[in-house]
Structures are given as structure tokens and as C-alpha cells.
Amino acid sequence: MTFAIQTLIDAISVGALYAISALGIGLLFGIMRLVNFAQSEFVTVGVYTLMMLANAWFPLAALAAVVVVVLLALTVERLAFRPVRNADPATLLIASFAVSYFLQNGLVLLFGARPIGFDVLPGLGQAIQVETVRIPLLNIVTIAATSTLLLGVGLFLRLTRTGIEMRAAAVDFRMARLMGVKADRVIAVGFGLAGIMSAVVSILYAAQTGTASPAMGLQLALVGFVATVIGGMGNLPGAVLGGLAVGAISVLLQAVLPPDLRVFREAFVYAAVIAVLLLRPQGLFRSAAERERV
């Protein structure tokens, strides 16, 4: 029982981190058909920023991470993606791999490939004991931070004019432009948001791992991509649910599979993704009602 509850908490907190990654990927995919693998380096650069400021006052370090990552995201958009904005998705994908490769190797040049340990938010190592279940503070903070962020982004997308424009652009970019929505602005805001989300992921990830290594963001971006596929490309709530689902499924599989099969956990997750692609190419979480008459 304790194990079941503990596993559920694990599932939610891992899923929460994936959900933010997926939202960042899903947002940019919706707006410009870009699968932004460079998001992995947005996260990684955030972690390195925190590593360098490990001895600074934490709120300052966190703020620095957000600023650095957002600036990086905006710069990458400006220098790398804007020139190929109207290219086909395959070209965009290659561009994003190139950016990712470039940034990763830049980190290797600057810091070396050896992981660097550091301690950020050591207080989160504490735990709250509820009956027999021990809930690490980090899990609570992760769930709280991701919920807040998702709620914030959700409200932004629902209530502000820019947010509504972004949602419109995410489903039909051309029509949005025909109605006067400025492409540059929407894309820049999209990258800014992806930067903020990556920075939050990097803070939580740094607190969890205490390690900075040049390729550490890759898996998060990959999962984010898988989650958007599951959730339905261009469907933002779907991406979030997809992220939660992938996180939860991985944790649950790890918890219930017999030892010999746990090694193949990833394979099960990806098999599920392929099944989704075959059976519901529009994604799991896109309601039929929303799609009809389009």
C-alpha cells in the first residue's frame, strides 16, 4: 500500500516535469511546425547557470537561470529559426538538431564533458512523513511548481489577448496572420514561454540531480516530443496530458514489471506511442467533437 501511494506520487512528479517539457515543445510545434530539440539545451544551459551560481542566494540564481534561458531561446529564434521559418518541417527539424548540437558542443568546450556536481536547494532533500508514506519536499515543490506554471500558462493562453492569438496561431498560423496576428511577435512570445518553462524544468531538475552534464536535457526534450505526439500535435492540453501520461507510464512500468523486463521499459513506452500513432494519429486527447467540421 505504502509502495502504491509512493509510486503514485513518483508518477505525478515525474509526469509533471515531462508535462512542462511537452508544453514547450507542443507550443512551438503548433505555432511553427518546429520540433524544437534545442529545448534540451535550453534546460541544460539553465542547469549550468544554476551550477555556476550554486553558492549565490537561490532566488537570485533562479532568476538568473530564467533570464539566461529566455535570452538564449530568443536568440536562437532570431539567429537560427527565423531565417528558415517558412521552410518545410524536415528542414526545421534539421535546424533544431543543428542548434542542439552546436549548443551541446559549446557546453563541452566551456565546461568539459565530465558531469559537475553541485548542490542547489538542499532543503528540498527533507521529507514530510504522512503515516507510512514519506513525501520528499522536492516532489511537493515539483508538483506545486509545475501546477502553478501550467495554470499560469493556461490562464495566459485563455485570458490574455496574446494568449488567445497564440492558441489561434497554434492551430492555424496562416489564418491568424490573415487576421493581423503578427508572426514575429507570436513566435518570439512562444520561444520566450518555452524558455521560461525550460528554466523552471532546469531548476527542478538541478534540485533533483545536483549534476550538470552537457547532454542531460536530451531525454526531457525527447519525452516532450513523444508526449506531444501522444497528446496530438498542436493540441496544448493534449501535450500536457501526454507528458503526464508518459511520466506516469514509465514510473508505473518500472514499478510493476518483473526485473528482467524493466530494462525494456522504454521499449514498452515507445511501443505504446507507436500504437497511438497507428490507432489515433490525431493523438489520444483530441476529442472527436472538437475536430468535426474543421
Binding site: G112, A215, Q254
Partner: protein
């Protein structure tokens, strides 16, 4: 202007001269990962090897010849390994040292094999790195992963008196899998299968969190006496998560967890044991190792990050001894001498090679204990029952 021209000419003249043409000098080649993702693992062994060359040269060289080194970057790309090896062999290298890993080192070693030149890996711990996997000229200075696992099992059982164990295995690389598997085999011999109270796997890079692995350890009843932790890359992250979850069990690990670079992630880490080649912290029970660390620090300004550096030193040391005994640089003669090494006292420890086995299986490892974030040496130890080597 004239001076500039002359200097330029001189520079050209020097650079076009093949190294072999330099009188009274013999070349050792280093086709290694000087940049990229594998570079950290080659860095220490390379620097140590260059230190060994300095030491030999300061004693008058080898067979009266000065040793010079040439380096070529594989850029951490196995495919570039062959190119880099061809490059240094083209500069007349009489021996090459390759990357500390079978997959990354083998391509270079195969090129050396084809030109009948001895190729040493600094620390590839896979027994395939040798006669069976590459050829008769391929050696590795490492202690085999299978010995490391068995050694940790026997030490935990006999010296620590631990009764039960939980095995946590990183499945990303062959090395950690091999360490855990040989641990399990030896532990089962010494104790019983039942005393392995749980086992789990994780992936050092793909698992962004090991939360469910941790929950499983915690749910295990009874709690084990210790956890055999076969981790490598990002192992520090896993240890941080384990300790943050309140698991204070002793953790045992092998040389892939050597070094202090990851320790900042877990301030005041204690009850962590690691079997290493030698202490990189200046407190080895063997004063020779401490002297090495001192001269390494003197030459490079920093101490070696891990004890793996010792393997690099001993590559040059071993080859030089064999050359001296053979009285020639001729590969066949040198190989014959290397294959006669029996408990040869090298910097990295007692080293044995045979015509069939070019990796060490019975060299003691130094067990160190981390107490409050500091490495303390305990003892050198080796399993009494050597594992069966399979290739």
C-alpha cells in the same frame, strides 16, 4: 622581415621532418579523445602517460633514446579512432595508447594490430580488449570489470560481514552491467541467492528520475545491509536522489564512481565505498602512488581527477620495461616480454599478462570509503576466486 622568413623556414623544416628521423628518439602515439564526450576519461591517463615519459627521459631515456609523444584527436568518435591511429603510426609511433573504453579504443587498436604495433588501452575494462577481441598486440592496463564485481562481493561479505544486499544496476553501459553481474555471481557463491533481497535497474542517461527505483528499495522489507550500486555517468545524480529519499544504507561501487567531481551534489556524503585503482587524493597506503599524485599536480597544476590516471602512467611504464628487457623496440620481442609479466610491480599495481590474457583479473583494487565527503583509504583487496573470463 628576413628574420621572420627564417623562423618560418625553420618551422617548416622541423615540421616536415618525420619524428623517426630525429636521432636517438622513439615515438609513442596517443590517438585519444582529446575533445568531445569521452575526453574526460582519456585526459587523466594521457597526462599521466606523458609524466611517465618525462620520468623515463629524465633517467636517460629508453635504450638510450629519448621518448617523444605524438597526439591525435579522435574527437570522441569511434570512426575517427582509426584515422587518428593511422596519423600517429604514420609518425612512426612504436606503441600507441588508445581510449579507456572498448568501443572507442578498439578502432585505433585494430589499425595498430594491422601494422603489428602494440596498442594499450589505458582502462578499457572489458576482457574483449586483448587477443580475443582485437589481436595479439592489444593490451589493456585496466583491472577487468568481472574482477571488480567479484572483489566488491567478497570484500563486502568477508571484510564487512554484510549479510543481505540490494543490487541497483545501470544498464546504459556494458561495464556497469558486467560489474553487477559478476558481483551477483560471486555474492551468491559466498552467501545465497536469498540474501539478495532485491534488484533493480536504471539507465544513467535516459532515466531523468530514479524515483520508482528508490521507492522500491524503501518498500523492501527487510532493508538490506547495503546497496551494490553499479553506476557510472551521472551516478552522482542517482546517489543524490537516493540520499535525498532518506536511504542511508551503505553504498558500494566500482571505479566508475571514483573521483570527487560529483560529490558536491551530495554534501557530506558518508557510508559510500568505492573500489579504485589508487587514491587520487594523496592518501594512498602506497607512498609511490602519493608521489605520483604530487608530481602530477606539480606538472599540471591540479591533482588527477580519478585514479584512472595511474593506468596511463603504467602503460608507458610497462611498455618501457618490456622494451628494456627485450633490448629492442621490435614489436614481437616486446610483446614476448609483456606476456611474461607476472605480478609486475607497476604504478597501478601488480600486473600480469599471458599470451592469452591481456587484461588483469587478479590485481588488488584500493577500497576507499567516503566519510563526510572525504575519501579515506581502507585496504587493497582482490577476490580470492578469480572469475571465469569469457570474451
Amino acid at each position: 622581415m628576413k628574420i621572420l622568413m627564417l623562423t618560418a623556414l625553420a618551422a617548416v623544416a622541423v615540421s616536415v621532418l618525420p619524428a623517426s628521423a630525429q636521432d636517438d628518439a622513439v615515438t609513442v602515439g596517443f590517438p585519444l579523445a582529446l575533445s568531445g564526450f569521452v575526453a574526460p576519461y582519456d585526459d587523466g591517463p594521457l597526462k599521466a602517460a606523458l609524466l611517465a615519459i618525462d620520468d623515463i627521459n629524465s633517467r636517460g631515456g629508453l635504450l638510450g633514446e629519448k621518448i617523444i609523444s605524438v597526439e591525435s584527436d579522435t574527437k570522441s568518435d569511434p570512426a575517427q579512432g582509426a584515422t587518428a591511429a593511422t596519423d600517429v603510426l604514420g609518425k612512426a609511433a612504436k606503441m600507441i595508447m588508445v581510449t579507456c573504453d572498448f568501443d572507442f579504443g578498439a578502432p585505433a587498436a585494430l589499425v595498430a594490430e594491422s601494422q603489428n604495433v602494440i596498442a594499450f588501452s589505458s582502462c578499457a575494462a572489458d576482457p574483449k580488449f586483448g587477443v580475443q577481441g582485437i589481436g595479439k598486440n592489444a593490451y589493456t592496463m585496466s583491472t577487468a570489470s568481472i574482477s571488480q564485481g567479484a572483489t566488491l562481493a567478497e570484500w563486502a561479505h568477508n571484510e564487512k560481514g554484510f549479510k543481505t544486499v540490494y543490487i541497483l544496476k545501470d544498464t546504459m553501459v556494458e561495464y556497469t552491467k558486467s560489474v553487477c553481474d559478476s558481483f551477483e555471481a560471486r555474492w551468491t557463491e559466498l552467501s545465497s541467492a536469498e540474501s539478495i533481497v532485491g534488484r533493480d535497474t536504471f539507465h544513467g542517461v535516459n532515466d531523468t528520475s530514479i524515483a520508482s527505483q528508490i521507492s522500491r528499495i524503501k518498500a523492501n522489507s527487510p532493508q538490506p545491509d547495503f546497496v551494490m550500486f553499479c553506476g557510472a555517468v551521472n551516478g552522482g545524480s542517482a546517489v543524490r536522489q537516493i540520499r535525498a529519499a532518506g536511504i542511508d544504507l551503505p553504498l558500494l561501487s566500482s571505479e566508475s564512481m571514483d573521483g570527487a567531481y560529483w560529490l558536491a551534489a551530495i554534501p557530506n556524503l558518508s557510508d559510500f565505498y568505492v573500489a579504485v585503482y589508487g587514491s587520487a587524493f594523496g592518501n594512498d597506503p602506497d607512498p609511490k602512488v602519493n608521489d605520483f599524485v604530487k608530481s602530477f599536480s606539480a606538472k599540471y597544476g591540479v591533482a588527477p581527477v580519478t585514479g584512472h590516471a595511474l593506468t596511463g602512467y603504467s602503460v608507458v611504464e610497462a611498455w618501457a620495461k618490456a622494451v628494456e628487457r627485450a633490448g629492442t623496440f621490435d614489436t614481437d620481442a616486446v610483446r614476448a616480454e609483456l606476456d611474461k609479466f607476472t605480478a609486475e610491480p607497476l604504478m597501478v599495481g601488480k600486473t600480469t599478462f599471458t599470451p592469452e590474457l591481456h587484461i588483469n583479473v587478479d590485481r588488488p583494487m584500493l577500497i576507499m570509503k567516503i566519510v563526510n565527503g572525504k575519501h579515506e583509504p581502507i585496504e587493497r583487496f582482490i577476490t580470492t576466486k578469480l572469475p571465469k573470463v569469457s570474451f
